[in-house]
Structure formats: structure tokens, C-alpha cells
């Protein structure tokens, strides 16, 4: 089972992200000064250094920019999941994420595939994952 590290869920910068995930929402920090949507969440905007921001909810749709089918797991926690898909997803309304493509047809993933966020219950809460959108 996927595990969110304990220190991640309690991390002051990213706490609202994980709380929203538990409620089934994908949220990002948006700079109130320049509009930049930052990810990972930070104390200040990495583009203009404004420290004024708000959390916005993403539609959670995007496209696969790249992917790899992982055959050798980096840790025992992931060993039961191989083969699994690691992917870079470009969101339509937010920055790029590194994620898994999950679902029955995950191993058939191709660059350019439309994907949508799903939330996978995991040890420590819920984690955003992506599924290929139905054709």
C-alpha cells in the first residue's frame, strides 16, 4: 500500500494539500501577486517572492507528458506494486506533477493520453493518482 510519509502530512507547507486530498480535492497554492501556481507548496512564491497566496482547486485533468513502467521497486513498500506506471502529468490548470497512472488499463499508457485525478486511500490519508480518461 502507498504510504504518505508521516512528516509529509504534518508538513506546514503542504498540510492543506493532504487535507484536501482526503476530501477528494486536488489543491494548489496560487500567488496573489503574480498569479503563479506553485507546486510543491512553499512559504513564498518562487517566481516573485510574494508571501500572499490562496489555495485553489484544480479540475484534476491533464495529459501524460512522459511515463515509465517500473519493473524494479525502490523499496519494499512498492515491491508488491510492480509493474507500475510512474508518469509526469501536465495539468490543464496547474503545474506538472509526478504521479502514478492507476487503473486496469494503466500499463497501456502512452504519451499524450488524457488523464483525470482519482484519490487512492492510503496509509496516512489519501493520495492523488491519475487514471486514463475514457475514450
Amino acid at each position: 500500500m502507498t504510504t504518505i510519509p508521516k512528516f509529509a502530512a504534518g508538513n506546514a507547507d503542504s498540510k492543506p494539500y493532504w487535507e484536501a486530498a482526503q476530501q477528494g480535492r486536488l489543491v494548489f497554492k496560487k500567488c496573489l501577486a503574480c498569479g503563479q501556481i506553485q507546486f510543491p507548496p512553499r512559504h513564498l512564491c518562487p517566481k516573485c517572492w510574494s508571501d500572499r497566496s490562496e489555495w485553489v482547486t484544480s479540475a484534476g485533468t491533464g495529459r501524460v507528458y512522459s511515463y515509465s513502467i517500473v519493473r524494479r521497486a525502490p523499496s519494499p513498500a512498492h515491491a508488491g506494486k510492480v509493474p507500475y506506471v510512474l508518469a509526469v502529468v501536465d495539468l490543464d490548470d496547474a503545474p506538472r506533477m509526478v504521479t502514478n497512472i492507476v487503473g486496469e488499463d494503466a500499463l497501456g499508457v502512452k504519451i499524450g493520453d488524457a488523464v483525470k485525478v482519482v484519490f487512492e486511500a492510503c496509509d496516512g490519508g489519501a493520495i492523488p493518482q491519475f487514471q486514463r480518461a475514457l475514450k
Binding site: 502507498t2 509529509a8 517500473v70 525502490p74 507500475y84 510512474l86 509526478v98
Partner: protein, 388 residues
């Protein structure tokens, strides 16, 4: 102040390489350091600066100071630098600055660890997974090979690189390692061997990935003045540049363009030279895709043509641009920060000459590129036998 001609490398050394269960990581560093000092014709008491990087098998806090203690040194310039695989070239940069400013006279730079026998393969893989972002990459099982695989896959998609051309990088590395008496893996391989090796993270197989070795390496930086009465031929630092764009892949501006462009440009500008002036290049090759991208970013061929450059054999000892003449991290050695350091050692040896079958003819100027993280931290150095 430009560092051009202000510092030289006078001694290089590598430890025994492979599986060395009778040695610690610190011991491997010490063995390499002793060989480097002997190579330079220096006395231990000449060393008044020390730089080292990091160790997963012996993760001491203050590793630089620990290394000095282990070696019985009391330097006036000492640190451990951590910019991943870029650390050795970055340490060369910092050592050269220290020497040029008179902070110290002679700096020992060393790195390496007993990664093959000091930890299990699973422990090594797990430790390396920590390079991924702890909250936003690691929970997804983002191993280092998988993160580089994302780059390889996108590159193949955009530029039509064939799997065979990608494999040719590993084949060439192994051919060169066969010419190096101390290389970890010397048995020749074919592109088919690479394609049929154990899959790790598609498109990468085990033979697209660097080795896990026990290895230490060292080089010594001093001033051209100090080098004058030494028996060895000094290699001049002609140019050096760095660029650090991100650490985690998810924060990279692009998956097809990285910081080697900027580090290379800075190094060329300092040296007053360009890619066409380089007689050989020692590129960072933690995975086969990486030297392809570096060849392009450092101006040796156009974007998208790096794979064909390798596949056509242009990187062989007698090719247009010999690359990784010792076998690189894919076949010579890789342990912690030592991979890129061996590129510096080999560049110096090529410039001095006399390597027999492995010798690049008329090698006068060499480029070394180190990168760390996921093509995150870059340092390019240009070395030559003559000041410019």
C-alpha cells in the same frame, strides 16, 4: 577574477575497484589519496586543503572533517560538498578558487564509498530513492532509474531516438572499459545484451544503468607555481562553470533542456575555447540517456542527434570526439560521488599521454562534465596541458 590558468591538477589516483569487502569507504578514499600524492610527487605535509563529498555507506556528519581526521590532516581549508554527482567538478571549482585566492596551496579532493559491499543492493536502491521529492515523488515509487526513464521516454518520443542507439552508449562504455586495467566491468557487451538485460524502468534496463561499485578516487589541485618543481606534468584548469536549475524532477522547467547549456557556456567562455577545440570529453553517464543529452547541450551536436553520434561510433578512442575513454560510470566505476571524479582522473591521464591502446591521439584539451540529482546540478570543466 577569471580562474583560467590559475590552478592545475598535479596528481590523480583511483582505489582498487569492484567488490572490496576488506575495505571501508574511508579506506578506499585513503588508498586513492595516497596514489594521487605519489603520482604528484608531493609529501602529505604539502596538503593544506581538503574537499570531499558524501557517503551513503558511512554517512558521517561533517564528512570533510572526518576525512581529514582519518588521513591525519589538519587542513586550513576543508569541507564536504553535496551537489550529487556534480560534486567532483564543483569541488575542482572550489579548490581552484581557494588556491587562486591564496586560501591554501594544495587541495586534496577525494570521493567514493564501498557501495557494492557496504550495503545491500536493496539498501543502495532505497537510499537513492531519497533523491526523489520526499512528499511528492517518493510515495509514487519514483526510483532514480525511473526518474531518468521519464526523461529518456520523453526524449525518444520527441526526437525519435531508437532503443538500439540508446544502447550503443553502454556498448561503447564497455568497449573502453576493456582497455582500462582497473575498470569494474570489462567483458564486451552488444546492443542486444542491453535490450535483453533485466528491465528496471522502461525504457531502461540494468545495462542502461551505472554500476554499483566499491571505489574511491582523488585528485590534487595546486597553483602553477607550486607545480613547477614537481615531477608530474600538470593539467591546467582552463575554464569551469556551474548551473543549478532544480533538484526534484517535478520542479525542472523542462524534461528536454537542462543546465549543461549554461555550465558549458561559462566554461567555454572562461577558456576562450569552443566545442570544436575539445579533443575528448568525459561526460556523466549514470544512465545511457544522460551523455546523449550532454553531448547536445555542450554543443558537440544538434539537439536530437546525440544518439546517432554514439551509434555511429564517433565517440570511440579514434572517433570524432572520444567520450568516456575509461568506461565511465556504466563500466569503469560508480560509488557515490566518485563517478564524475573518475572522469577528471581520466581526462588528466589522457592529457599526459602514454595510455597505450586507450590513448586518444594528440589529446591536448579535454572537457569534463558532471551532473547531480536528476540533471539538476551541472558543472563543466575544461583542462589542457598548456596554459591559454
Amino acid at each position: 577574477m577569471s580562474l583560467r590558468n590559475k590552478a592545475v591538477i598535479v596528481g590523480v589516483g583511483e582505489s582498487d575497484i569492484g567488490k572490496m569487502p576488506h575495505m571501508t569507504g574511508l579506506g578506499l578514499n585513503a588508498q586513492a589519496a595516497k596514489r594521487a600524492i605519489d603520482d604528484a610527487g608531493l609529501k602529505v605535509s604539502d596538503i593544506d586543503g581538503l574537499l570531499t563529498a558524501y557517503s551513503f555507506t558511512e554517512p558521517y556528519f561533517m564528512l570533510g572533517t572526518v576525512m581529514a581526521e582519518y588521513l591525519g590532516l589538519k587542513p586550513r581549508f576543508c569541507a564536504s560538498m553535496i551537489v550529487g554527482g556534480a560534486s567532483p567538478a564543483a569541488m575542482l571549482h572550489h579548490a581552484a578558487m581557494a588556491v587562486a585566492q591564496g586560501q591554501c596551496n594544495t587541495v586534496l579532493v577525494c570521493a567514493g564509498e564501498n557501495r557494492a559491499t557496504g550495503m545491500t543492493r536493496d539498501e543502495a536502491v532505497a537510499a537513492l530513492a531519497a533523491v526523489g521529492h520526499p512528499y511528492f515523488e517518493a510515495p509514487y515509487g519514483a526510483s532514480i532509474p525511473a526518474l531518468y526513464a521519464l526523461i529518456a521516454q520523453r526524449y525518444m518520443h520527441e526526437f525519435g531516438l531508437s532503443r538500439e542507439a540508446l544502447a550503443s552508449v553502454a556498448v561503447m562504455a564497455r568497449r573502453h572499459a576493456g582497455l582500462h586495467p582497473n575498470a569494474h566491468m570489462r567483458k564486451p557487451i552488444t546492443a542486444a545484451d542491453v535490450l535483453n538485460a533485466k528491465p528496471i524502468a522502461e525504457p531502461l534496463t540494468m545495462l542502461d544503468c551505472c554500476l554499483i561499485s566499491d571505489a574511491g578516487g582523488a585528485f590534487i589541485v595546486t597553483s602553477p607555481e607550486r607545480a613547477r618543481d614537481l615531477p608530474c606534468k600538470p593539467a591546467y584548469l582552463l575554464g569551469i562553470g556551474e548551473c543549478h536549475t532544480h533538484e526534484h524532477l517535478l520542479c525542472a522547467d523542462s524534461l528536454t533542456r537542462f543546465g549543461a547549456v549554461e555550465s558549458g557556456r561559462a566554461a567555454y567562455a572562461m577558456a576562450g575555447l569552443g566545442p570544436k577545440d575539445m579533443d575528448l570529453a568525459q561526460l556523466y553517464d549514470c544512465f545511457t540517456i544522460v551523455p546523449i543529452i550532454e553531448l547536445e547541450e555542450l554543443g558537440f551536436c544538434a539537439q536530437g542527434e546525440g544518439g546517432a553520434f554514439f551509434a555511429a561510433g564517433k565517440t570511440g578512442i579514434h572517433g570524432e570526439l572520444p567520450v568516456n575513454t575509461h568506461g565511465g560510470m556504466l563500466s569503469h566505476a560508480h560509488a557515490g560521488a566518485v563517478g564524475g571524479l573518475m572522469g577528471i582522473v581520466e581526462a588528466v591521464r589522457q592529457l599526459r599521454g602514454g595510455l597505450g591502446e586507450r590513448q586518444v591521439p594528440n589529446a591536448e584539451v579535454a572537457l569534463v562534465h558532471n551532473e547531480g540529482g536528476i540533471l539538476s546540478s551541472h558543472c563543466t570543466a575544461i583542462l589542457g596541458m598548456q596554459p591559454r
